[in-house]
């Protein structure tokens, strides 16, 4: 890809991120039960994976054996994926107007009943272990597809995640790519103040992982790192630490330690959408 093409693509990804953020706020306006701050920190990650074509997928054939598997372990923070999946044709765009309404399949936390979601989400600490099983299965089949996982940093409090981290390193699962949405805030406070999880790098390194760190809102950095991670088959599972801001794009949420449980007033959302 030439420099101009790359620049164009990065511009496109940045525009998509702005659009996804707005669409996510619209969803939150009709469904205030949704976890808006967690969903906003992962916007660029979703945008780069889907519009940057890091993920090999086919919306018309959702169970295609040749697809990359994407496990969204921090399920509550994936409302921002709804507009992307609708845009790509996984389901009708009109469904976005009915999130959390009676009779819809788009709930406050996405499950595998929604086209495009592989697993049951909502309970933290499951996705990585399941992804390890999928990664082993793909290797057994000699399939070249990759497994991607989106983890929240708060999820790292779950012991089951560490069972899986140990397992992935030992089994050299180099087809496994984990993106850590490192927004540094749990439900009640900064992780640092609850029980400090940092530093991540040394811990994963000790369990035989490859680690990279990026600004999780910089589409350029995300795009290049994810491409490298995916292509590299070096006997090691990959961790991309994406440093993000919880509630990114909404000043009243950004870095408020209680933003996880904060709902935005419709007028506040309208003001942001106009801006």
């Amino acid at each position: 890809m030439s420099t101009t093409d790359t620049n164009n693509q990065m511009d496109l990804l940045s525009e998509k991120a702005i659009w996804v953020r707005k669409e996510t706020l619209k969803i939150h306006k009709i469904a205030p039960e949704t976890r808006i701050a967690s969903s906003l920190s992962a916007v660029e990650i979703f945008v780069v994976l889907y519009y940057g074509k890091i993920l090999k997928i086919d919306a018309k054939n959702i169970n295609w054996a040749g697809r990359d598997r994407f496990i969204i372990s921090k399920g509550h923070g994936a409302i921002s994926l709804y507009p992307i999946l609708a845009d790509l044709g996984y389901f009708d765009k009109n469904e976005l107007k009915a999130v959390c309404k009676e009779g819809t399949f788009l709930g406050g936390i996405p499950d595998s009943i929604i086209p495009g979601f592989e697993t049951i989400n909502g309970s933290l600490g499951h996705g990585l272990g399941v992804a390890c099983g999928i990664a082993i299965a793909l290797k057994r089949k000699n399939a070249k597809e990759s497994v991607f996982v989106l983890l929240g940093d708060g999820e790292l409090y779950e012991g089951s995640v560490w069972e899986a981290i140990m397992f992935a390193g030992e089994h050299k699962l180099d087809n496994l790519n984990v993106i850590l949405d490192n927004n540094r805030i749990c439900m009640l406070d900064y992780c640092k103040k609850i029980l400090d999880l940092e530093p991540h790098e040394e811990k994963f390194k000790a369990f035989k992982w490859d680690i990279r760190t990026v600004d999780g809102h910089d589409v350029n950095q995300l795009y290049h790192s994810l491409n490298i991670l995916k292509a590299e088959r070096n006997q090691k599972p990959k961790l991309l630490i994406a440093n993000t801001i919880k509630g990114k794009g909404v000043p009243s949420l950004e870095m408020d330690p209680l933003c996880h449980i904060k709902n935005l007033k419709p007028a506040e959302i309208d003001a942001i959408l106009v801006g």
Binding site: G122, C132, G133
Partner: protein, 341 residues
């Protein structure tokens, strides 16, 4: 030794194709040996364990290093890795000590097996070894008195509780062909053979009537079935013919056929090496009796609402908790006397 008399051989009873013979085997070894055979021809089978062995497992893990995975002492990850493999279409067996498999990893089982199976087809067979008081002297952490009720609670879950190794051997086909999550509740100790002709077993019904009797029927599962048979045989010698029903699949269960089978009895005694009044085998029977507006009296035998800290053999612990053959015998005789009054 609870089944000494079978070891010496010759003690046989034949009722409706069911017999108790001298051959004693460990359920898990018979089952694993059969899976080992299947793995030669069926490349779709994975066998996972949480650092738990068996003499028969040694051959399997040596022969199939690519499809045998020891995840370490990590039951939660055992379930999650099994789920990933099953989502990719593999038939998975996940093997661990029963109380740790079911209770340490209960939420993993709920989310990734029970919930997921309602949306996608997954074939995961959880093999829990150490039902009831199998691990008698290891104490209450190793006893497993809750699993029947907690696993029966989960939607989309099959619960298999075999009373002998022949049933377990026969269940291998079911475990591979029926693509659902299943819990296999295996005893930790060698058991005598009850089903001589296990091929005739219909797993879809969930139970077999071993003895047909009058007035009183023992409804049992797992290890306790053999005791029930012994008690029934002794009583038959004294002209008290009681029924014995062995429940080997607690879920799904043919409730109508079960009620048809017990409806002419006046008393049903449930007998399980598990807590009673908490939705176990007694709960299964009680719900059926209630839904059929039956006036059959239900007597529940099992463990009361307390853990067992006493040290001793399984038989000794059974005696302390009124689950030995003598106590069962007495319960039946008391009922018979009551009836005569």
């Amino acid at each position: 030794m609870p089944y000494k008399k079978f070891k010496t051989g010759g003690d046989r009873c034949n009722t409706r194709g069911v017999s108790v013979t001298a051959e004693i085997k460990t359920t898990r070894d018979v089952f694993i040996e059969e899976i080992y055979k299947r793995m030669h021809e069926d490349e779709n089978i994975f066998f996972l364990c949480a650092d738990f062995g068996s003499p028969k497992l040694d051959a399997l893990r040596e022969k199939f290093p690519d499809r045998f995975i020891n995840v370490g002492i990590a039951e939660q990850n055992l379930i999650n890795v099994a789920t990933g493999l099953a989502l990719e279409g593999y038939t998975v067996f996940a093997y661990a000590i029963a109380p740790f498999l079911t209770m340490r990893a209960y939420e993993q089982i709920r989310v990734n097996l029970s919930l997921q199976a309602q949306v996608k087809e997954i074939n995961i067979n959880l093999i829990g070894v150490g039902a009831g008081l199998s691990y008698d002297v290891s104490g209450p952490t190793h006893h497993c008195l809750e699993d029947i009720s907690i696993m029966r609670t989960l939607p989309n879950m099959v619960v298999f509780s075999p009373s002998d190794w022949a049933l377990a051997q026969k269940f291998v086909d079911y475990s591979i062909n029926v693509k659902k999550p299943k819990y296999l509740r295996f005893d930790g100790k060698p058991l005598p053979q009850i089903y001589e002709n296990a091929d005739a077993i219909k797993f879809e019904n969930g139970f077999s009537e071993i003895f047909h009797g009058e007035r009183i029927c023992l409804v049992t599962t797992g290890y306790m079935t053999c005791k029930a048979i012994n008690v029934a045989k002794k009583l038959a010698e004294n002209n008290i013919p009681i029924g014995v029903i062995d429940v080997y699949i607690l879920k799904p269960f043919n409730e109508d056929l079960f009620f048809e089978t017990i409806k002419n009895y006046t008393h049903v005694i449930t007998l399980e090496e598990a807590f009673i009044n908490k939705g176990g085998l007694d709960g299964l029977v009680s719900t059926i009796l209630n839904s059929k507006n039956s006036d059959i009296q239900l007597i529940r035998m099992g463990f009361e609402d307390a853990y067992v800290f006493d040290i001793g053999s399984r038989e000794y612990l059974h005696k302390l908790n009124n689950l030995d053959e003598e106590s069962i015998n007495k319960n039946v005789k008391d009922l018979t006397r009551e009836e005569l009054k």
